[in-house]
Amino acid sequence: MMIKKISKERFKKLFDELKEEYNIAAPILKDKGKEKILEYDFINDFDQIVWDRQPDSSPKNIIFPQNSMLGNDYKGSKYYDDNLSTIIMGVRSCDIEAVKVFDQVFIEDDSYIDDSYKNRRDKTIIMGISCAEREDSCFCDSLGLDPIESDYAPVYIFKDEDEFFIKIKDEKYEDLFEDLPKGDQAQLKALKKQRKEEFKESSFTLDIPTPLPEKEMFEADIWEEMTEKCLGCGVCTYYCPTCYCFNFFWEGEDGESTKYKSWDSCMFSSYSVHASGHNPRDSKGKRYRNRIMHKFSYHPLNYEGLACVGCGRCIDRCPVNLDIREALKMTEEYLLEEGGDESGKD
């Protein structure tokens, strides 16, 4: 492990050095009609990066783009070169944990390795960033994550006003940062301690056994009420950093076609329609059940950890403000009432 401490100017210089050899993606403000939204994109200019708040979208679009014409993903981006590896800067604990979920499913699962994801992932270096403040809707710590530091990123940034500690945990990347001035470990430790103490407590606590009991919750009668206000659009899934459902299809004209991979959403009514026309998830409640159960039951049963990272984007972005924390509280109340305190794990 190596700790460095640099000024903003030095970081800018480092950025300019790195961009010669890497594609760099980071959160930048983008014009979206009347408003500006903080999103990850490939960039060329250090000063564009916004460090101080949680981006409105996760870096999912970088590591798992909405459309990929297999093997040719970012053709449109000016600052992306397919021959180079990519550094994603300023990724928070929640989004780092989400990458772990993707890795578990697409790479580490023995039954199948997704080559297009693996190729991209092998060429991606995540530079995490420590959270300094809680957003209204985020609750990663209620799910057992640490907003101050995640173990899953090989390089981690701790921004302290205009100075940056850089902690390099994976020696593979030490070369990149070798020339930088050394940082004091005790000082970093103190900063982390202070941050932990000052971090506002979450108004939400997860008091249910996970994995959620599969059969009991599947048959529970709370789902329709829970989704009474749900519109049935795909916003929560598209902006969710861990939702990874996708579709394959061929598309083209004039005798030529290309194989595509695109995001899908379990919240769409057409998601699980059978060829016969039968739809096993023919209501919003059943579809939302799948979303919650995938994150809090099926994923932890099959892999490790939850598939919800508490980033809160589904809450912020939902057109009717359907709150996953409320859904979990309803689940908790249901389980208490029904006496089901057994988790789904054997």
């Binding site: 979206k32 009347k34 408003e35 459309n67 009474e228 206000k229 049935g232 659009c233 769409f268 057109p319």
Partner: protein, 283 residues
């Protein structure tokens, strides 16, 4: 113009009374979430919960579409003037039953923050209601509110319009929040979900995004009530309302038709008069 606080209070009182006297099974309105201070649709079943109902500048959702979920139940609904027009449209299309419905209509609607539809809105009083809240606005007051409004897109030439919409629809992820938020979009199967014929490609590309928004726009003729719920729902801040709004003004200009003004009104496309103008939209 009415103020939000007094509207909120009036709504709560009416809802409390309706629930106490068992006149309705539930009241659909706006309230705050359990963990956030954001406005969210709430469904009140008990009189003691009626105080949760509020109305403020962030009550941007159109609640009308929820009515389709409660066939056979008696429900009360809080309706902004635009939502009351949507209710009329549902009644005229026989999608809901008047006797199952209690409408708490807002008069003198003070508008919704960030909703550009409100800037051009000239229907500021509920057009159908059982209980009205707020202060009715006179025609002069309404005209004063919208005075000076100019449609920016109308001023653009063809090339500028194309560039404008390209820039907008490039951002579309086709999450279909606009469709789901829209009261008009209640087809059993949307053309976007049809795979025989297949109208749209699965990948999210500009030309398919255009197809989606244009086709949705065309379907809005004589149906859109210009509530702006689509625009408010869009997570990418796209001007998704533009085509529908154009359809509204075209219907008004060509056929003197304004949707949802009367529950007996026939829908634009189901009515034909010999002396109808044949002015084409493309002219």
């Amino acid at each position: 113009m009415s103020n939000y606080d007094s509207i909120s209070q009036e709504i709560s009182e009416i809802a409390k009374k309706l629930l106490k006297e068992s006149k309705v099974d539930k009241v659909i309105g706006f309230g705050l979430g359990r963990f956030t201070k954001e406005i969210t649709p709430i469904f009140i079943k008990k009189a003691e919960d009626a105080d949760r109902l509020i109305f403020n500048k962030n009550c941007e959702m159109s609640l009308t579409k929820y009515l389709l979920n409660y066939k056979g139940e008696k429900v009360a609904i809080v309706a902004k003037p635009c939502d009351s027009r949507a209710i009329n449209a549902y009644l005229s299309e026989d999608l809901i039953k008047r006797e199952d419905l209690v409408i708490i209509g807002i008069n003198g609607c003070p508008g919704i923050e960030g909703n550009t539809a409100c800037e051009e809105c000239n229907i500021r009083n509920a057009v159908i209601c059982d209980y009205s809240v707020g202060q009715e606005m006179s025609e002069e007051e309404i005209q004063a509110e919208i005075e000076g409004f100019e449609d920016e897109i109308d001023k653009m030439n063809q090339a500028e319009r194309l560039a404008y919409f390209q820039n907008e629809f490039e951002r579309c992820t086709r999450c279909y929040a606009c469709r789901e938020a829209c009261y008009v979009c209640n087809c059993e199967q949307c053309f976007t979900d049809s795979n025989k014929p297949k109208w749209l490609g699965e990948s999210v590309k500009l030309n398919d995004n255009f197809t989606y928004h244009l086709m949705r726009g065309i379907h809005m003729a004589g149906r859109c009530v210009n509530c702006g719920a689509c625009e408010m729902a869009c997570p990418e801040g796209i001007d998704v309302r533009a085509f529908a709004a154009k359809m509204c003004s075209a219907a008004e200009e060509i056929f003197d038709y304004k949707s949802g003004m009367d529950p007996e009104q026939k829908t634009l496309l189901s009515e034909y008069k010999v002396d109808d103008s044949e002015k084409g939209f493309m002219e």
